[in-house]
């Protein structure tokens, strides 16, 4: 009895103190990314929605690299795929990333945890329009891991990303 009570207090305390940081804000602008599936945090019915400002808030990186889709060295910046998934409490093994044209690619969760794979929202300091493969472009760290520079990762480098489904 005593035990159950203290457990309850501990649990409610943990909830109270963690809520402000863990809670997903509501998007204030146009939603650019929707995450569905095996996630713990949501801000809409069964899904987590992000606007560009929310993505910018997340832990990200900036890297200069060459890609098959750009001319010369290009600087990309944006939140890490890992931090987006953390923000939604994703717990799955596979991600299905879908583009605006409904093209989708399956990406193993390891790509997010092992590499600093980012969801680029800026190219050469500018936001990316849809015509420029925006608004979100999954960029593998070709600068940090040249061995990733092959078709396997090219096909996973989805652009014009619309949504991510976390599959258990």
């Amino acid at each position: 009895m005593m035990r159950a009570t203290s457990f309850a207090i501990a649990a409610s305390a943990a909830f109270l103190f963690s809520y402000p940081t863990n809670a997903l804000e509501m998007p204030k602008e146009r939603v650019v990314l929707t995450v569905i599936g095996a996630i713990d945090e949501t801000n809409a019915a069964g899904q987590a929605e992000f606007d560009l400002a929310m993505l910018k808030e997340l832990d990200g990186r900036s890297g200069e690299m060459e890609t098959p889709w750009t001319e010369g060295t290009t600087r990309f910046d944006g939140p890490l795929l890992r931090s987006v998934l953390d923000a939604v409490g994703a717990h799955g093994k596979t991600l299905r990333i879908t583009a605006l044209n409904d093209y989708s690619a399956e990406v193993p969760m390891a790509d997010a945890t092992e590499f600093d794979t980012m969801l680029a929202i800026g190219m050469n300091g500018e936001p990316m329009s849809i015509r420029d493969k925006g608004p979100i472009f999954m960029i593998y760290p070709f600068d940090q891991h040249p061995e990733l520079y092959n078709e396997k990762y090219f096909s996973r480098s989805v652009w014009q990303i619309k949504s991510i489904e976390v599959i258990e």
């Binding site: 098959p68 889709w69 015509r131 652009w159």
Partner: protein
């Protein structure tokens, strides 16, 4: 080298060449393989560079997005006026199509495709068509709307775009397939080339292994053959060595064989020289003698040199006095020096003169004699100086300086080499083998010393040698007896045991001339039987004889003497008394040596060395009284009568034979307590019979350490008493 071995060596060499070739070939093929690998990896890199978004996929996407937009616009047209959502959807579709356009612009497509004119033209058309639509969709995106007429225009535009994108898709597919096929063909050919290369390398390595194993076999065979050859060589060497040994033995035998008749010639010549001959014959005999001596010297030198060369030189370590050696040697050359009008002078340092040293005096004497004879030989009407000194403690130096012809500077370095004389004419003028100095050098070096010379042509020479010696406390040394004059030698009973008839004859005549009573024996056995009578004071014993040799005969005589109590002096006659021979002689019981060829002077010396025996025959009263206690004898005679005393004496002598044997045995075995017991019993018995001298000696001997002296002393006194008894009996 045997033919088989030569062939094997050549085979090994050939195999080695093949191996080298195969190794070179393999290396070249390896290099080629490495080059191929590099080429492949280079190709791989180019392929890697061309890794990029699949052109076909990009074109397909373009075609698809164009169709999607066309479908969307068619739908919107059929539905009537555009609502907001539909407008937004159409704007999005256009944006997506537009984004595909930039991908097509990307130059990183497969080169052949990028170069294709049809592709470039089609791309330009597509761009124009899509850009032509931009104002309509920009209006939609900025919240405006499009009328039906606009939508119709868009549909018309898109309808003209679609066949182009479709053809582009087909063209790209063809192009990409072509490129792929080409790459595959190229890869295939590279793979085939590589495979061929690997195959060739494998064959080369296989051949290499085969050849190496063949080479190994050949090497093994060659090694075996070489071992056989080495064995054969060592066998040949052994055979050669055996031959050399046989040669040395032959030389020794020949030397002996030559010296025997030479001794006879020299002996007879000496006798002839003593005879009353006409002057011209006397000269002839003189030539025979001097030539014979030269011949003997040459033979001795050659044999000595052979011996030294063979390493048979065994050094002695005995006590000597350097002055004695110097004086003896000077005496040898004195005659010749006098003949040549050369004055000899000897200087001996005080430190040397009275010192007793340890080394090999025989060798020293020989070296010195050689240097002195050379000096005398090459000096006429001049002077030869001998100086003996001790430059430092433990070194003895002899210097022979002459005022002779000298030696040229050119010849000095070669002087001590064998068979070298300063000038070959010298050997013609002065004789000699040229071995003398070589032997001197080898001898001196064997003794750990040095030999050298300083000389100038026309101003004489100074030869010297220095030896390490050990100065010792002077022990009792047999003082050299003055050479007895031939004339007043006592007459002795001499037995000559010699198998060679001529030598026997020479010895006989010499001894007869020296006034000796001579008996001859032709071999050891006869010598022993003759000596058994005990009638001889001196026995000259040849060493090598048939039936029984000198050593065996001496032993037999000494054994027999045990029972008689007499002791003859036995002197060996030998041509080359080596150290081991001397030892053997001494062990057998010999008392001395006389070198062959025997000369009158040598024989006179030998006879002079025979110990004086108490002259019983003269009936000297003093001698008798020394031997006997007359009072005691008279006492005994009164007690037992003359006959009784004689019987007692006989009994004593009979006992003494056994007693002497016991004494000899005890002394030989160093059994001092037994010896003391025997001496005690001799003393008692002798004193009893009034033999005072023997008794006193026996008593003295009990406290004496000189074992050899004891036996000789007892024997001498015993013999004297016996003789006295016999004389008394005869009287």
């Amino acid at each position: 080298m045997t033919p088989a071995l030569r062939e094997s060596r050549q085979a090994v060499k050939r195999a080695g060449k093949v191996t080298t070739f195969l190794v070179a070939l393999s290396a070249a093929l390896m290099a080629l393989l490495v080059a191929t690998f590099f080429y492949l990896s280079e190709r791989q890199k180019t392929l890697q560079d061309s890794i990029r978004e699949d052109a076909l996929w990009a074109v397909y996407q373009l075609d698809r997005e164009a169709r999607t937009l066309a479908y969307g616009v068619n739908q919107a047209e059929s539905r009537g006026p555009l609502d907001e959502a539909a407008a937004e959807e159409l704007a999005l579709r256009y944006d997506i199509l537009y984004s595909r356009l930039s991908v097509l612009d990307n130059a990183k497509y497969v080169t052949s495709l990028a170069k294709s004119a049809g592709f470039l033209a089609a791309r330009a058309t597509v761009r124009d068509r899509i850009l032509a639509l931009e104002p309509f969709f920009n209006r939609l995106a900025s919240g405006g709307t499009l009328g039906a007429e606009h939508l119709a225009l868009i549909v018309a535009d898109l309808n003209s775009l679609l066949p182009v994108t479709e053809r582009m898709l087909a063209d790209t597919n063809t192009s990409v397939s072509g490129v792929r096929a080409d790459a595959r063909v190229e890869m295939m050919s590279i793979q085939q080339a590589t495979a061929a290369l690997v195959l060739i390398i494998a064959v080369a390595i296989g051949l290499l292994i085969l050849n190496l194993s063949r080479q190994l076999g050949l090497t093994r065979r060659t090694t075996e053959q070489m071992e056989t050859a080495a064995r054969e060589i060592s066998d040949a060497y052994r055979a050669a060595e055996a031959g050399n040994r046989a040669k040395s033995e032959f030389m020794a035998v020949m030397g002996h064989e030559i010296r025997t008749p030479l001794n006879a010639i020299l002996g007879m010549a000496e006798l002839l020289a003593e005879a009353d001959l006409p002057e011209e014959d006397r000269h002839g005999v003189k030539v025979i003698r001097s030539s014979g001596h030269s011949l003997l010297e040459i033979i001795n030198e050659i044999l000595d040199f052979a011996k030294i060369e063979h390493g048979d030189l065994v050094l002695e370590r005995v006590q000597f006095n350097a002055r004695t050696i110097a004086e003896d040697t000077m005496r040898v050359v004195a005659g010749r020096a006098a003949e040549q009008g050369t004055i000899l002078h000897t200087t001996i340092d005080d430190t040397v003169a009275h010192a007793t040293m340890m080394s090999d005096p025989t060798r020293i004497r020989r070296v010195l004699l050689n240097l002195l004879s050379n000096a005398v030989k090459f000096t006429k009407q001049g002077g030869v100086d001998l100086r003996v000194s001790q430059p430092t403690v433990g070194r003895l130096r002899f210097e022979v300086a002459d005022t002779g012809i000298g030696i040229s500077a050119d010849a000095l370095p070669r002087l001590f080499n064998p068979f070298t004389q300063e000038d070959s004419s010298i050997s013609r003028r002065f004789g000699g083998t040229g071995l003398g100095l070589a032997i001197c050098k080898k001898t001196v070096e064997a003794m750990g010393g040095e030999i050298g010379v300083e000389s100038a042509l026309g101003f004489g020479s100074r030869f010297w040698f220095e030896l390490p010696v050990e100065t010792v406390e002077a022990s009792v040394m047999g003082s050299a007896k003055a050479e007895p004059e031939e004339a007043n030698l006592p007459s002795r009973n001499v037995l000559v045991v010699e198998d060679n008839a001529v030598n026997r004859e020479v010895a006989y005549r010499f001894l007869e001339k020296l006034g000796q009573r001579v008996t001859m024996a032709v071999d050891g056995a006869e010598g022993v039987s003759l000596a058994a009578s005990g009638a001889f004071e001196l026995i000259l014993m040849d060493m090598q004889m048939p039936v029984m040799d000198g050593i065996a005969a001496t032993r037999a005589i000494r054994d027999a003497e045990m029972s008689t109590g007499r002791r003859a002096r036995i002197v060996a006659m030998t041509a080359n008394a080596s150290d081991s021979d001397r030892k053997l002689c001494a062990e057998a019981g010999m008392d001395g040596f006389v070198a062959k060829p025997v000369t009158l002077a040598l024989l006179a010396k030998v006879i002079g060395a025979v110990p004086e025996e108490p002259a019983m025959a003269s009936g000297n009263a003093v001698e008798t009284s020394r031997l006997l206690d007359p009072g005691r004898r008279v006492e005994l005679a009164e007690a037992f009568g003359e006959d009784g005393l004689r019987e007692l004496d006989d009994c004593f002598f009979l006992d003494m034979a056994g007693t002497l044997r016991d004494l000899h045995a005890a002394l030989s075995a160093h059994d001092l307590s037994s010896a003391d017991r025997v001496l005690h019993s001799i003393k008692g018995a002798a004193a009893n019979l009034g033999f005072t001298d023997l008794a006193a000696f026996a008593d003295l001997a009990r406290r004496d350490d000189d074992i050899a002296g004891i036996e000789t002393g007892i024997q001498t006194r015993f013999a004297a008493l016996r003789k006295l008894g016999e004389q008394a009996k005869a009287a």
